[in-house]
């Protein structure tokens, strides 16, 4: 069964066309991540799915039913917001149970579901505290707990980790991944952090300016990007783009090479001048110039390279991508 189907969804705010002809399917139990640059419409798409915004045209189906006119609370979804959005006047327990009370669930059901969520999220000690008495990470866990207790058909996360510091973000990311494994419910997760997308997703949806650029598993998108935008967006450090003429005389196309596919080779075609070296311990990132272009190479292990050194790089076999001048992928 499909958890969510979007067909030809469009959304405009007055004259501003924000979502353009979105078609998407989310399977049961799938973890789908929306990525894209700021302002591309990720949050708007999520709000359309949640029912917080009406579509301008098109159809939204959740669990097979058309929900275009169903209010958010009846759609069988739960949402976690970037800013936590906990109710300031309620303690943790009441924050979590409010939605169930609105649904007129019995006391036993409410108690049992809150207990289950608190156990999953290790929130037992905080049930009687108010949101103002919690740390950022705890608040975000409460917000996730508030979503879990509803047993939704679909979870929606809008950049839930972006207010947390780096270490906490890692932990919470793992917690969300664990949660998905335990609950096996479909989840849609919005982020503009591509490493979050790569690590969490079963399926990544890359958005740009209100359009879907490509949909696929993280490795599909990484190994086989449909265009220059997707190729450049996923992967860190980002893919290098150079005129293909630098490698073979007279080639008009754009050449894309991932930093780890550049290999040191004495007779390599790319003669570069090293500008800067980043020693990361496990790898070494070499940032260098070739003509007016900057390229980044990622070498495994530790290398001692001085700025200003001249090096030659070759490209690993079959790891070159070619794009035309509009950014479309050219398959040789």
């Amino acid at each position: 069964m499909t958890a969510l189907t979007l067909s030809n969804v469009n959304k405009s705010f007055g004259a501003v066309h924000v979502l353009k002809d979105i078609n998407l399917e989310v399977e049961d139990g799938e973890f789908v991540v929306f990525v894209g640059p700021s302002g591309c419409g990720k949050s708007t798409l999520l709000r359309v799915i949640a029912g917080l915004e009406d579509v301008s045209s098109g159809e939204v189906r959740i669990g097979g039913e058309v929900v275009n006119t169903t209010p958010p609370s009846k759609r069988g979804i739960a949402m976690v917001f970037q800013s936590y959005a906990l109710y300031p006047h309620l303690n943790v327990r009441k924050n979590m149970s409010l939605a169930l009370k609105q649904e007129r669930q019995s006391k036993e059901v409410i108690e049992q579901r809150v207990a289950e969520a608190t156990r999953m999220l290790n929130l037992e000690d905080y049930l009687d505290r108010y949101p103002s008495e919690l740390s950022g990470g705890q608040r975000q866990r409460v917000a996730i707990g508030r979503a879990i207790v509803r047993h939704p058909k679909l979870f929606l996360f809008d950049e839930p980790l972006s207010n947390l510091d780096a270490a906490l973000r890692m932990n919470t990311r793992l917690e969300i991944a664990n949660l998905h494994q335990q609950l096996k419910t479909s989840m849609i997760y919005v982020t503009h952090d591509q490493s979050e997308a790569m690590t969490l997703a079963d399926k990544i949806v890359v958005l740009k300016a209100g359009r879907i650029e490509q949909v696929g598993s993280p490795m599909e998108l990484y190994n086989n990007p449909a265009n220059k935008f997707v190729a450049g967006f996923l992967g860190s450090p980002a893919m290098n783009f150079l005129p293909a003429g630098l490698v073979s005389e007279g080639d008009e196309r754009t050449l894309g090479v991932r930093p780890e596919d550049l290999v040191l080779a004495g007779d390599g075609p790319l003669k570069v001048t090293v500008q800067h070296v980043e020693q990361l311990g496990g790898d070494t990132n070499v940032i260098a110039r070739i003509d007016d272009h900057q390229i980044t190479a990622r070498l495994f292990g530790q290398h001692v390279v001085q700025a200003g050194t001249e090096l030659s790089f070759g490209i690993a076999d079959g790891k070159s991508f070619y794009f035309d001048k509009d950014g479309a992928r050219l398959r040789a």
């Binding site: 009846k74 917001f81 959005a85 906990l86 109710y87 939605a99």
Partner: protein, 279 residues
């Protein structure tokens, strides 16, 4: 920056200025209070002296208590002020929420129309208001005053509150919608508590002019049963003789209720927003 703030000289200067201002602001109130406890002669001989065993007298308060139904006036003022404030806050907040939260045709125009009242003093319409009250039989009722004061207070209330409501996190309201709260619950339980300081500001701004107003009580409700405190105190001020003891005593007593209301509202102002909802 930080050093300047903790510099003892600056601190002293700042406190000096504030204390000076407080003294200036409180001086008239102080003079009214001390003189209300003095004999008429003492008031004129030494207006700034504290009441002594000689000059102490409660005659002003006695006159006030005897003459007219002072407690009724008191009660009238209280009813008018509290009811008007309640209505201004309720309707002002509701209109502000609708204007700031919902996208609908004419939203902007509606906002401008409601704000127009800030620039046009309501007293310009006195004659029309009086005619309207006569036609609807509301002359000499407290309802007339409450309606007028509500109309007078609404424009500024809507203007200030909608500005504050725009700042209430969208995520919070949306979380409420997803949890199945009605728009009314979202308004009363989530949004209102967060704009409480703004509500208190609006209340304080509206309270004093309503309490002190002489104009509309005189025109719309001058009867004995509907007199407000300000209007009631006027009996002691004559064209030729003024009973200063009584006037000062009446004024002193009139300060009390506003003071109490003010303390209640300013608590709200200081308590501020319950933090931790968002971020």
């Amino acid at each position: 920056m930080h050093k300047a703030r903790t510099n003892p000289f600056n601190t002293a200067a700042m406190h000096g200025a504030l204390i000076l201002y407080t003294l200036i602001a409180l001086f008239p109130v102080f003079v009214i209070l001390i003189n209300s406890f003095k004999t008429r002669k003492a008031i004129f001989r030494e207006p700034l002296a504290l009441p002594s065993a000689d000059s102490f007298s409660m005659v002003g308060y006695q006159t006030v208590m005897k003459q007219g139904d002072f407690f009724l006036y008191f009660q009238n003022s209280m009813i008018v002020t509290v009811a008007s404030l309640f209505l201004v806050l309720l309707f002002g907040a509701m209109a502000a929420f609708a204007l700031s939260e919902y996208r609908f045709k004419g939203n902007m125009l509606m906002g401008l129309y409601l704000a127009l009242g800030i620039m046009i003093p309501i007293r310009i319409g006195t004659v029309a208001i009086l005619e309207m009250m006569v036609a609807s039989g509301l002359v000499n009722t407290l309802t007339a005053l409450i309606l007028v004061y509500t109309a007078q207070g609404l424009p500024l209330a809507v203007f200030i509150l909608s500005e504050f409501m725009r700042q209430v996190s969208d995520d919070l309201k949306n979380a409420g919608r997803i949890d199945g709260l009605s728009e009314y619950t979202i308004f009363f339980r989530l949004v209102l508590p967060l704009v409480r300081p703004a509500m208190a500001t609006v209340a304080v701004f509206n309270m004093i002019p309503i309490w002190n107003d002489l104009w509309f009580p005189l025109i719309l409700a001058p009867s004995e049963e509907t007199k407000t405190l300000t209007l009631g105190s006027q009996v002691f001020i004559g064209q030729f003789v003024t009973d200063w003891n009584a006037v000062l005593s009446a004024l002193s007593m009139a300060i009390l209720p506003v003071l109490i209301l003010y303390v209640i509202f300013s608590r709200q102002l200081i308590r501020g927003i319950t933090s931790g909802a968002v971020k």
